[in-house]
């Protein structure tokens, strides 16, 4: 199956390893990602004020590029997904604004493209059972806490393809890969997102809530689908012990990295060096 692919800025830069892993792992299960011929930044946040034309132009532009290339566009960056999905819905449901926007970006776009998160495609188009069949090196004994963040869950009416209170798609994928997802209650709590640039200390506490909960549930690692969540969960651990005595650090993976490993792919380009908490001891101990 071929699908248009929008990498977005983060996966093109700091999230390159995530991107490499996504491309390799999806290819291995028969999902061929065709990068959009031309694309631009989606804007990184969905505008929340009513007069949002200007800020919708960028994601609309991406959607037009996607339309020119096929009926569905996917992305692995949850933020990009959130922005594109909501923009598309907005365009579909607001005929007047749609016309203004079209005039603005000089296009004729009615919202005909389907925007799907990569995990959603893996679950519904490829199927986790099919993924499981391709597993070469099961992530046996890996107790992993799946972390979903906000962007694929909220607002549910606009973006969710999973239960916003108790999502399970990532857990099911990990199960398919042979890992043991732990049940913990904060898989859908916010990690602080862009507060990381303005109030890192607040982000740290938010991250602590999540990680502590994962640890209580017995997790050895966290796995996520969002590059900003990965950064916050990973980076904020550095000074954590200073504020929370006895805090034990946890490696934070992208799901695609673990997927690549389990499928027995070459994982050398998965950006391991950008992890703040070294993932290698854990991987070594698991023989991966």
């Amino acid at each position: 199956m071929k699908v248009s692919y929008f990498p977005g800025c983060t996966l093109n830069t700091t999230g390159k390893g995530f991107d490499n892993a996504v491309r390799a792992a999806t290819a291995a299960v028969g999902l061929e990602l065709i990068e959009l011929a031309e694309w631009n930044c989606c804007g990184a946040t969905y505008p929340l004020i009513v007069d949002n034309m200007l800020e919708l132009a960028a994601p609309a532009h991406v959607l037009v590029a996607a339309r020119n290339q096929g009926s569905t566009v996917t992305t692995a960056c949850t933020t990009c997904y959130n922005v594109l999905k909501r923009t598309n819905k907005f365009i579909r449901e607001h005929p007047d604004e749609r016309e203004r926007l079209n005039a603005f970006i000089e296009a004729e776009y009615q919202g005909e493209v389907e925007v799907k998160d990569i995990l959603h495609l893996l679950r519904d188009e490829v199927g986790f059972a099919a993924v499981q069949e391709k597993v070469q090196r099961p992530l046996k004994d890996l107790k992993v806490a799946c972390y979903y963040g906000c962007m694929v869950l909220r607002p549910p009416a606009e973006v969710a393809y999973d239960d916003p209170d108790h999502p399970r798609s990532l857990d099911d994928l990990m199960t398919a890969l042979g890992a043991m997802p732990v049940d913990y209650p904060h898989k859908n709590e916010c990690c602080g997102a862009y507060l990381t640039v303005s109030a890192p200390e607040v982000t740290r506490e938010m991250v602590y809530t999540i990680l502590k909960s994962a640890q209580l549930a017995g997790a050895q690692a966290v796995v996520t689908n969002c590059p900003l969540c990965q950064f916050n969960l990973d980076k904020r651990q550095a000074e954590m012990a200073q504020f929370h005595a006895g805090f034990q650090s946890l490696p934070v993976f992208y799901f695609s990295q673990l997927m690549g490993l389990a499928l027995g792919l070459d994982a050398s380009e998965y950006g391991w060096e950008r992890h703040y908490i070294d993932v290698r001891p854990l991987l070594n101990s698991l023989g991966l």
Binding site: D163, P164, D165, H166, P185, H186, S213, L216
Partner: protein
């Protein structure tokens, strides 16, 4: 020639504030056959009606039109007025110039006035052809059916049976008592509900006039007020009933058929499924339970023998949290209404918990405390002051299990602090909802329900226990969540309506219904499926359609499908309708 009088009501300022009454009077006086046209501030008042009677006498009227509010409001009033002054009530018509004119054209005085005049003009044309009619009299079966064996149904049954009439009480489950039977104690006194309830159950079971059918369901309802035919099916019958059940193998359903004069619907409520409250972990965590589950724990005859134990490990919970409005007051995601009884039962449960576990902590998250009932406010105050129940004003947002405890994230909107409670047990006061099978029963009984599945009363203020279907009455939480005293009062009220009905010698039916002209009817049968009230049958040997006068509601559906105009509604004939059209055009 008729002698028509027209009486125009101001309805205070309701009509007169918009419509130019003087001009209306001036115009309508010119209409044919109109002998007098008068106006009055409130035509429905005593002097207003006297005015009408005086003019019937003085002007020798034989037909009248009251231009006022909707006929649903006062048609009966004015028809009675006419009758008392010697005019056939069916020579009286209402011209609705309030709902259909003054109210809808409030800012267009001119247009509203013209519309009122035109409306009256058409009614004058109709009245010209009105016939004098007399009501039908029909037999009346003085036996009542009560559906539901909870406190509402039992109370209604008892009141009717005490008055000497036979009652059939149908209960779906295997025993009487309903939801009240699932409760531990009642709000204000801690007498166990089962004790109080058992007296009522006893009285019902042994009442010579009450036939109790448990494990039974009403499967079919035919007929009409005073003459319903009701089929009841009973699964695995109790010790066989005399006569009707003889020879039936236990375990097979037994069918009963009853002639019934009036029906009381008292089918009660369900709780909103806690599984639908994902953020509260309903159905995920064993120590997150609903209000009725906690009641079961408090019951001496319950699964824990009356001891409060948390389901996961049987330990005594030291921290218990109640989450109010779980699914209530939430138009966006769940039910928009307030479930009415939660505030009180939560206060009661918290108090009972503290009595059993004095060192425990009880915390209640609420939005507004609703303790409006006799002694209720004082009761909640006692929960706070004497039992140290901590009330926190703020809706909880998340309940989750971590490290063997159930944690509740809430807020205290009064200090402005987000709060967390590590609980051993969380009780969700889930919304009170209509029973899932209410819809089906409603259709069977032909009674309407609101968008949430509660049965509709005939009028929200003045006819709270009647349905819009004659002879079918409502009691208890099937109509809307209500507490026990309210339910009991309403049940007695429904009984009163039944007793009033049964006090009549026979049923009276309005004559303004359909009839079939036997000369013209070709027996094509088109009107039979067209009738929504099943009032039509084919005469066995004459091969023409006949009308069951008791079922016909005069809706006119048959007149539309009849190719020969053999079906007509009395006092609303095609001749009249055309005359009205002509008058208007």
């Amino acid at each position: 020639m008729k002698r028509i009088g027209i009486f125009v009501c101001h309805c205070g300022t309701n009509i007169a504030g918009t419509i130019d009454i003087a001009r209306v009077i001036e115009e309508i006086q010119k209409f044919p056959e109109v002998v007098c046209a008068l106006d009055y501030k409130y035509m429905c008042s005593d002097p207003g009606q006297q005015l009408i009677r005086d003019h019937i006498r003085d002007d020798k009227l034989d037909a009248l039109i009251v231009a006022a509010c909707s006929p649903a409001m006062h048609e009966t009033t004015f028809r009675k007025t006419a009758a008392t002054a010697g005019v056939n009530p069916y020579q009286t018509e209402i011209a609705n110039i309030r709902e259909q004119s003054s109210w809808v054209h409030q800012k267009q005085r001119e247009a509203a006035t013209n519309k009122a005049i035109e409306t009256i003009r058409t009614i004058v044309a109709k009245v010209h052809y009105n016939q004098s009619l007399v009501p039908f009299y029909l037999p009346l079966v003085k036996r009542a059916l009560v559906i539901g064996g909870g406190i509402a149904g039992m109370q209604a049954a008892l009141d009717i049976a005490d008055a000497g009439y036979p009652v059939v009480l149908v209960e779906q489950s295997s025993g009487l008592g309903g939801r009240m039977g699932q409760l531990s104690g009642i709000y204000l006194n801690f007498e166990a509900a089962p004790d109080l309830l058992s007296q009522t159950i006893e009285a019902v079971t042994h009442h010579p006039n009450i036939q109790v059918l448990t494990n039974a369901e009403v499967t079919q309802v035919g007929g009409y007020v005073g003459n319903f035919t009701v089929h009841v099916e009973q699964r695995t019958p109790e010790p066989p009933e005399p006569a009707s059940a003889t020879g039936v193998v236990p375990g097979n359903p037994v069918s009963y058929s009853f002639d019934i004069g009036a029906i009381v619907v008292a089918t009660g409520y369900d709780l909103y499924r806690k599984e639908r409250l994902g953020e509260y972990g309903g159905g995920r965590y064993p120590d997150v339970i609903d209000g009725l589950q906690f009641e079961a724990m408090l019951r001496r005859d319950g699964p824990t023998g009356g001891l409060i134990r948390r389901p996961s490990d049987g330990r005594i919970p030291k921290e218990v949290v109640w989450v109010q409005c779980a699914g209530s007051r939430d138009p966006e995601l769940h039910m928009p209404y307030c479930s009415k009884v939660c505030c009180m039962y939560v206060a009661k449960q918290a108090m009972l918990y503290k009595r059993q576990v004095p060192e425990g902590q009880a915390t209640v998250f609420y939005i507004d405390i609703r303790s409006q009932g006799k002694g209720y406010e004082e009761f909640v105050q006692r929960a706070m002051t004497e039992h140290d129940v901590l009330y926190v004003r703020g809706k909880a947002s998340k309940v989750f299990q971590e490290d063997g405890r159930v944690k509740v994230w809430g807020v205290d909107t009064l200090t402005g602090l987000p709060v967390e409670v590590e609980a051993d047990l969380v009780v969700l006061a889930t919304a009170t909802v209509a029973r899932s099978d209410a819809q089906e029963l409603g259709q069977r009984l032909r009674i309407s329900m609101d968008e949430h599945g509660f049965f509709n009363e005939a009028h929200p203020k003045l006819r709270p226990v009647e349905s819009l279907t004659a002879g079918v009455f409502l009691a208890g939480a099937a109509q809307f969540p209500k507490d026990i005293p309210e339910t009991v009062a309403q049940a007695s009220a429904a009984a009163s309506k039944v007793l009033s009905l049964f006090s009549q010698r026979q049923m009276v039916q309005e004559p303004t219904i359909a009839y079939v002209d036997p000369e013209i009817c070709s027996g094509c049968g088109l009107c039979i499926p067209a009738c929504p009230y099943e009032a039509r049958t084919m005469h066995e040997w004459r091969h023409i359609a006949v009308v069951n006068a008791a079922l016909c509601q005069g809706c006119g559906a048959c007149t539309v499908v009849c190719p020969n105009k053999a079906c007509q509604v009395r006092n609303l004939t095609p001749v009249q309708i055309l005359a009205m059209m002509e008058a208007y055009l």
